[in-house]
Every structure is written in C-alpha cells, then in structure tokens.
C-alpha cells in the first residue's frame, strides 16, 4: 500500500516544461480545489534526496543572482523542485529552489501553492522580494497547512498568498517569489489521513480505528502553483489602500537611476559662474549655483565652492 494518495500527473504531462503555464482551466472552476486535478507526489527516497542536496553545487552567491523565470498572470502549472533544480545556501539552510519573476503590470492576484504529499513531501518555504530584491515576506511552517485530499485534489501542504498591484508604480510591489525548503521544515513530518478513514467520513460511516500515514519531509517535491488574477471589475471596487507616506519605510526606496554623466562644458560653466558670483561677493547666488550643479549631476561644484570660501 505504498502509494495511496498520488494523483494523476495530468497537468504535469501538459506542462512538462516547468513553466509552460497551463491556462486552460476556466478561472471560476479552478477556484474550487476539489474540482482541480492535482499532480502525483514525486516518488523519491528521503535518503537519496538528502544525498543529492548535500552533493549539489550552489548556483549563486546572493539572492540578486538567482535565476528568475517570468510567469504570466494566468499561470497554472507544476513546479518541480528536485535535484535538477538549482541549489542555494539560504539563511535557513541549503535547499533546491525555483525562483519566479511575478507579473508586474497585472491586477492584484492570489498565488495558490499545493505541495503534494505522498510517502514524502517537500514542506515549502516561500520568499517574496520587492523590485530591489529586498525580502518582504518569508513563509514557512505556520503558513503551509496540511489540507486532506478531496475530490480531485490530492493531499498537500497548502498556502494562499495575495500580491498587491493596486499601484503599479509602487516601488514596494512584490516582484519575485522563491520556493524552497529549510532545515527547520525538513526536520518535521506531515500526518496524512488514511484514505479508508476519508472514505468513512464522506459516507458517514465509522472510520476504522487505525493509524494515519506519515509523509517524511524531504528536499525534493512537486508544488502545484496557480495564479489567480483579480476579475476585471473587481479590483478597484473591492479594495482601496489609503496612501500613508512616500515610502522610505521597510526598505522601500524608489529605485534611483544613476544620472547621466555631466558634460565637462557644463562643469566648467558652473565653476565659472560660481567664481563670478564670489567675485561679486554674492555668496547666496554661489550656493544656489552649486545646488543647481548638484541637481544636474555635478557633485563637485559644492566642494569647489567651499574650497574657495575657505581660502577667502
């Protein structure tokens, strides 16, 4: 009775490429989990998965260099995190991972994650980052809850997270998602209700008094991911987030473009003008000129002025 809970890898077949994206399910149907086919859990042995993780070479030295894959706002597919996936030394431990660039110009959306559980399960962590690759959210043990199989849905550790796109130009908008696991998650296990008990509950009969099954937490697994964008008419009508400040809090800084290099002629012009103002003993004008020079990108005008003033 090895594999009780596996589900048909229908989507898997349709989306063999990790990110093929299956947008064939109508949105209103796929919002009911029980009507949505879940993929079969990966058949992996805990030992071989742990060995593979130990042996895996680390892909990148910082979050900034993770290989992000763009996904569409109607994405629905299976994320396979196995030994063919890149590995990274997260602060929470080394892990295989998949990294995604989230839709930027869509309406707000919900991401549903279902990590399929059989004899083993990858207990997921999810990391969200803003456009500057600063971490906004870290989801783990408390956020991924076991939800038993129902209808076509398999046994899985599930989480739903909402990503806001009310203001598309908000620099704090979350732009990246990383799915991985952690040492803490791998130390745990998931209890799965015995299918004979699920049957009994559905039929209103007395469940057999037997032990439930255990899924070991392992470094490899398959996570069904569905992105559900807000409906056309929904977003503005449903939500208003009152703006509170221009946003330096929580590390949200407007990404500043480096100013184009200042032409030597411009530099010379400002120094000349500053000299002229000083010659007229108009210190205020000289300061204004130095500020103006700084605004066009010439940071050297101010020290130049101060130097002149000190000499006097």
């Amino acid at each position: 009775m090895k594999q009780h809970f596996s589900r048909l890898p229908l989507l898997l077949a349709a989306c063999t490429a990790l990110l093929a994206g299956c947008a064939s399910e109508p949105t209103n149907l796929r919002q009911v989990d029980a009507f949505n086919k879940a993929p079969a859990p990966l058949a992996v042995s805990a030992q071989s998965a742990q060995d593979a993780l130990r042996a895996a070479s680390v892909c990148c030295d910082s979050l900034q260099s993770l290989p992000f894959t763009q996904i569409a706002p109607d994405f629905s597919g299976n994320v396979i995190i196995d030994r063919s996936a890149p590995a990274f030394n997260f602060d929470s431990g080394k892990s295989f991972f998949r990294a995604f660039a989230l839709p930027q110009n869509s309406r707000s959306f919900e991401i549903r994650l279902y990590s399929q559980a059989g004899d083993t399960v990858l207990a997921p962590n999810a990391m969200l980052l803003n456009g500057n690759l600063q971490i906004t959210r870290l989801l783990g043990k408390d956020d991924f809850q076991f939800v038993p199989a129902q209808g076509l849905k398999g046994d899985s550790l599930d989480a739903r997270l909402r990503v806001d796109r009310l203001y598309l130009d908000n620099a704090g908008n979350e732009a990246y998602l990383v799915l991985y696991t952690s040492d803490a998650q791998m130390a745990g296990k998931t209890i799965i209700e015995h299918p004979a008990k699920s049957y009994a509950k559905a039929r209103g009969t007395e469940p057999p008094n037997i032990a439930d099954l255990e899924a070991k937490h392992v470094p490899e697994g398959i996570i069904k991911m569905v992105v559900i964008e807000d409906k056309v008419a929904g977003q503005i009508a449903n939500t208003y987030v009152p703006p509170r400040s221009i946003g330096q809090e929580m590390g949200n800084t407007v990404p500043s473009l480096p100013p184009p290099p200042v032409q030597p002629e411009t530099k010379a012009f400002y120094r000349q003008a500053i000299d002229a103002a000083l010659a007229n003993r108009d210190l205020e004008k000289a300061l204004r000129l130095a500020d103006e020079a700084a605004r066009v990108g010439d940071d050297s005008a101010k020290p130049y002025l101060l130097e002149k003033v000190q000499i006097k």
Binding site: M1, Q3, S6, L8, L152, P195, R203, N209, I210, A211
Partner: protein, 427 residues
C-alpha cells in the same frame, strides 16, 4: 534573513490575521456520495442485478442498477475557544436510472412508471455541540437525525451495525482507557395491524446505544465494545392490544480493528442479538419472531504488492428463530485491484452467497458472481474516487429454486451476464 518589522506595523495585521483565521470555520463543508451509470443484460433489456434470495447483501461491483446520491452540507456556525456548534445535513436521492426525468416526488421509489420512480429522503439534520458540557471536557452533545457510527462492508454495501435515525446523545466521553458514547435512537414500525385495539397505529421503537471505543489491546490493534437495547415504546392503546407481545431485544457487539496489517487493516466483528433486534442491525422491530442471532463479519483491505490492493470479507450469520423462519447466511467476497498507473486499474470481484433456511425441507440456495472492470480513478488508492468503470458481470444460481436477477432475466434461468459503465464518487 528574517526582516524585523517595527512593532507598530504588527498591530493592524494581527487583527487582520485573527479575521483570516476565523474564515475557514465559516466555510461550508460539502460532502456527498453518488453512483450512477448505464448497463444492459446479455440477451437484451436493462441491466439486471443479482442477489441471493434471503441474503443480507449483494456484491456491488458491476452489480448496482440504480442511481443513488447523497448531498450533505455542514458548517461550524459558532466557535469560541474549544467550544463549537456544528450543523450537519444530508438529503439522499434514488432512482431506477431509467430516464432523464425521474420525479423525486413519486410516492413509491420503485414505481412502475419510468418517469416517476425517483425518491428523496431526509437522512441527516443534526447539531453537534463540542465541549459544551463543562463536566465532560472533550465530549460532544448532539441531537437530530444522524448517521450514527455506522459500521459497513464496502464491497457488498452491507451495514452490520447501524442504528441511524432521529436521536440524541453524548459522544467522545473520555474515560482514560476508552472513549464512551451513549445515544437514544428512534425507529418506527409501519402500521401495527394485529387484530386488536392498536390496529392502524405506528409503533415507535427506541434503541439505547452504549459504546466503548479506542481500547488499546495490542500493537496497532483497537477494541470496540457495544451494547444496544431495543424496545417498543407503546401508547396506552397499543398496550391494551391483547395480541401484542412486547418484543424487546439485546445486541452485543465486539469489534477488533488491526492496523498495520499487510499494508492495510483488518476489522473483525462478533455480534450476538436476541428477539426484537434480530431483524435489523441494531434497531428494534416489533414484528419479529423471538429467537437469537450470532453474526461474524471479518473484512479488510490489504496491499499484496505495491500495485495490487485487495479487499476481502467473510460473513457468517445464524438467525435461529422460534417460528422456524430463521436462516444461516454465509458470504465470501474478494476484490483485488491491479493498478496499471496512477489513474487506470483493473478490478476483479468474486462474491459467493449461501443461504440455508432454518425450516426442514427447504433447499439451500447459493449465488456466485464474477465481475471484471477496467477503472479510471483520481489516484491509485483502493479508495480513490471519483471513479469510472467499464464492467462485465456474470452470475450463476439454481434457477429451479428462485430467480436471483432483478429484471431482464426469465424465471428458470440459471445464470446471467450484464455489462455497462458506472461512475462512483465520494467527497
């Protein structure tokens, strides 16, 4: 890498989180069951279904001729700390699957009119109050119509311990070594037609049900002990009926469940019943003859290999009645399922029923049923549903004694072949 957020930012989100936690409790639980399909009999006609005369059940794979569905909606309506109230409901529907239009308001579910053979039934409406009795922490007080701790055998749809009906009780009383459950259940006999004063009135029967469950007896093994006392609850008029005999009954059930059993589990139940309770599976009936009954039901689902799961059942029931109308019933069945992959499997079912009437001179009858089915289901497990199956069924019996077929097969025939496609789901 954990971002440390300023405390003031957590306050509003904590309030929001509390709202979100409450949300799942407000979701409606949609439970149910259905089976439906289409079939035919070799030689022509609608699908026949085969059951040995007098047997308590029939093996069901490729041998169900009706559409049956249960639709259940439940919701936790209130929760505060450990205390909660849950409302459950279920309506059942049945029809002969003969037509598109099968009215559910027909007076008789098996009406000859093929457009009016449907019927519906109010099967469950109850409220369960968890932890509301302060002196019994962990216990649930409940009342209403309910499927009450029914024990069944899946492959022949046989309920050997079922006192379901209108009732009230307290369940999950923690005794330390076991959990105790007490209930008062009702069932009613049809018109009492004895030629006395009580003619034409219904007889209300009570069953008082006591159970001890979760008794540890061996590794992965649990014991359940049950006692049912059934008795008619007579009106003054019925009491005065000179022909009425107050038909009480006792039923004792012992059941052992063994987990970790060849990759599955085994359930062995032993029952001893007397008088009024014999005719049913825990409910009292006033029309019964006195007597005694012993019943043994052994069943299980095991994993023979990674790819083969099998359910099996053995039933022996001896009803020894004072009026000589009793019988011995022996039933053996197996359903091995070979899984080709995560979706497709092949199931084989063999069922044997033998009924030996108590009266001298009456012939013993038997029925053998074979079914092969190709199945497609949502997952590999024996229990995986929804499932669609294409089946062929062959049954044989002694046509000189009786006709085991429900229809399409002439009296006197000794065997029958049917085939069809059926869907089954529970959720």
């Amino acid at each position: 890498m954990n971002t440390k957020k300023p405390a003031f930012l957590l306050k509003p989100s904590a309030a929001l989180a509390a709202l979100l936690v409450a949300a799942p409790a407000m979701a409606v639980d949609f439970h149910g069951y259905m089976r439906s399909g289409i079939g035919a009999t070799g030689g022509g006609g609608d699908q026949a279904c085969f059951q040995a005369k007098g047997a308590g059940a029939k093996y069901r794979l490729g041998n169900e001729c009706e559409t049956y569905a249960e639709v259940g909606l439940g919701q936790e309506l209130w929760k505060e700390g450990d205390q909660s109230f849950y409302v459950d409901s279920m309506i059942a529907y049945k029809s002969n699957q003969a037509n598109d239009w099968e009215a559910t308001d027909s007076k008789n579910g098996n009406s000859d009119n093929p457009y009016e053979n449907g019927t519906s039934s109010i099967r469950q409406f109850n409220v369960q109050g968890k932890n509301v009795l302060s002196m019994l922490p962990g216990a649930t007080l409940w009342a209403g119509k309910r499927y009450y701790k029914r024990h069944d055998v899946h492959i022949n749809d046989y309920y050997y311990w079922d006192v379901s009906g209108p009732g009230a009780g307290i369940e999950d009383i923690d005794l330390g070594f076991a959990k105790a459950h007490v209930a008062w259940m009702r069932n009613t006999d049809g018109n009492w037609t004895y030629n006395g004063a009580g003619t034409g009135t219904n007889v209300a029967n009570d069953t008082f049900d006591f159970r001890l469950t979760d008794i540890n007896v061996n590794t992965d093994g649990k014991l359940e002990v049950g006692y049912d006392y059934g008795k008619a609850n007579l009106t003054d008029e019925q009491e005065k009926d000179p022909g009425y005999t107050d038909n009480k009954g006792h039923l004792v059930t012992l059941e052992h469940t063994q987990g970790n059993w060849f990759g599955g589990f085994n359930k062995l139940a032993l029952q001893y019943g007397t008088d009024g309770i014999i005719g049913s599976t825990g409910r009292n009936n006033t029309g019964n003859s006195d007597g005694k009954m012993i019943r043994l039901v052994n069943q299980g689902v095991i994993g023979l290999t990674d790819d083969i799961e099998m359910m099996y059942v053995q039933i022996y029931e001896d009803k020894d009645l004072d009026n000589n109308d009793g019988q011995e019933w022996l039933s053996l069945g197996v359903r091995p399922v070979y899984k080709w992959d995560n979706v497709m499997s092949t199931a084989f079912e063999f069922g044997y029923d033998q009924v030996d009437p108590q009266a001298d001179g009456k012939e013993t009858i038997d029925l053998k049923k074979f079914t092969i089915a190709q199945q497609w289901s949502a997952g590999r497990s024996f229990w995986a549903r929804p499932q669609i199956r294409v089946f062929a069924t062959y049954a044989m019996w002694d046509g000189d004694e009786y006709n085991a077929a429900s229809e399409s097969i002439e009296t006197g025939e000794d065997d029958g072949l049917t085939f069809g496609v059926q869907a089954e789901a529970w959720w």
